[in-house]
Symmetry: C2
Subunit: 334 residues, 2 copies
């Protein structure tokens, strides 16, 4: 199956689950992108979950999404429990419009769901000559510093800027010491996880993947990472009026109601303060990449390696694991 | 000497170094605040350096600071090589004004210098019911991930929000694994620094403080912390038109010209998206602080401990180390 055929298949599955063709296409593109940039944990592996949430009526397949313009720069979106991709697509487009027109755009989104990779949205803003942030909250995975129970999601901070190089500068970093996907893989392969990245459910450090999954992950940089995760909980939770402080439901195993995830996008024109931002950022990146390196290794800027992976993967067919093929078939049958 | 007398002494010293009384007062307040919140590395210990930079004409004591309003939300400040405190004070006041009037404020500052603690400015915005960010660059201290030469400053990310508790929520975190001040203290006491936080000038890991000071500090969380430091270099350097990518001069030992540090402030009204932000943030903080803890310890939110320190310290006289007393006397004599 070619990647285009795969995209059409995903669209078909979503349409079968009552999404409009336009919305299904938005979702399919985002899912395919996650596979191409090398983040399969945000790709096809979540398709079944999205469909299950639609079937169980905790994702609204035909949402009435409301946009309220608070000013020419600031807008609020109530996503009406839409699938996250659709709400975020609308949100980033609105952010781009506001920022292109007034220099700065701020858009808050509530009543949304998991939207895939933050970088996917920030990249759209960057392609419009904007510097942009995306914040989103997520179901509990990280304990606050000093705690032994998960409260914060992996709560990524995503920042992007035009780079005047082929790959845009896109930093998309979660606040956990290790990706949850990596722990899941270690569990499947019966391998240990590194010391100091997780606690078991009794609050004891563990290198056992299974124990870590039922316990908590630790934030990067102790009090500092915990503080950054808290910041993201405030920005995309409290500030926009979505769930926060541990109340976001896990999309995989909690069907008791919608997630009510929140997102916050901020963007500003790259050239509001300087004449030639493109020239300056190119110089910045060149100088830093030329820093003497430790082991004759390349110094990469954020987004560079993802761009290279996407380029290589786009020329190949996406490899679909067996269990996901089975999912796709059963989802098609509905 | 009472803290008020100390403040007047600092004002006197700055006036002797040609600052206007108003500007000297702004500086004295910020320096005193650093002492009170327990950050003496950003307090009196820098007074001699500031005065030396004025005497050597790399800080302009009588700057013609220009404010350009790009829109009602966005302003640009050219600080004309003023002392950082004065530029940042003007910058945060302008940010507050823009945000209070339009919901959002974005202010870039170039041709500035070291401004002390970011939290000091963010707190002013928070007291005006704003959620705020401050970014500033700094002289090279951190190597990019994979590099063995310093390029990024400690490049703090500062974020604040009203908390509806006594202490405002203020996260002010540098991107280095260890504070440079702590390495300096270890050097003086002939103590080792922890493993893995710094490299010597040949790029080898070191626990020797002296070697670390002539080598590089490592960022938090490897590639992620390096990326965050890079983000701050872009936001407060490239974007606002100040020095960046390793070109910010060290204020203590490079008098070959002004620092041309940049700052970026972003603020938005806390209640643009929700009706009762104060109630919601209080609930957020209460829930997270109530997370079961590891060792019956308190879970603090960012800014809480600093607030407690400031409260305690404000009731006492600031202890002035001998060498700084000598500095103060010699600066008074001019």
């Amino acid at each position: 199956m070619s990647n285009n055929q795969l995209k059409n298949l995903i669209i078909k599955i979503f349409v079968k689950h009552k999404l409009k063709k336009l919305h299904a296409t938005i979702c399919a593109k985002a899912i395919l992108n996650a596979e191409l940039v090398g983040a399969p944990s945000h790709g096809l592996s979540r398709l079944k979950m999205y469909c299950e949430r639609i079937s169980k009526k905790v994702i609204n397949p035909r949402p009435k999404i409301k946009i309220k313009n608070i000013s020419k720069s600031i807008s609020m979106i109530d996503a009406n429990n839409s699938i996250g991709f659709v709400a975020a697509d609308m949100g980033i487009k609105k952010t781009i419009k506001n920022a292109r027109e007034t220099g700065i755009g701020l858009v808050g989104i509530k009543n949304s769901g998991h939207y895939g990779l933050s970088g996917y949205y920030v990249e759209q803003a960057v392609k419009n000559n904007l510097i942009a942030f995306a914040f989103t909250n997520a179901p509990p995975a990280i304990a606050p510093y000093g705690g032994k129970k998960s409260v914060f999601g992996t709560n990524p901070i995503c920042f992007g800027s035009p780079s005047n190089n082929k790959a845009p500068f896109i930093l998309d970093t979660s606040m956990s010491l290790i990706n949850r996907g990596k722990i899941r893989i270690a569990e499947k392969l019966n391998k240990k996880i590194p010391k100091g990245v997780a606690l078991d459910k009794y609050g004891k450090p563990t290198t056992n993947a299974k124990e870590a999954l039922s316990g908590v992950q630790l934030p990067i940089a102790e009090f500092r990472g915990s503080g950054l995760a808290w910041m993201v909980d405030i920005l995309s939770g409290v500030f926009v009026g979505s769930n926060h402080s541990g109340k976001v439901k896990d999309p995989f195993d909690d069907f008791s109601g919608p997630q009510n995830i929140g997102h916050l996008f901020i963007a500003f024109k790259d050239n509001i303060f300087v004449k030639n931002y493109k020239r300056d950022i190119k110089k910045n990146i060149r100088r830093i990449k030329n820093t003497p390196s430790l082991k004759n290794q390349n110094i990469f800027y954020p987004g560079e390696q993802k761009y290279l992976r996407e380029k290589i993967n786009s020329r190949k067919k996406i490899k679909i694991p067996k269990n996901i093929k089975i999912d796709l078939n059963s989802l098609l049958l509905g």
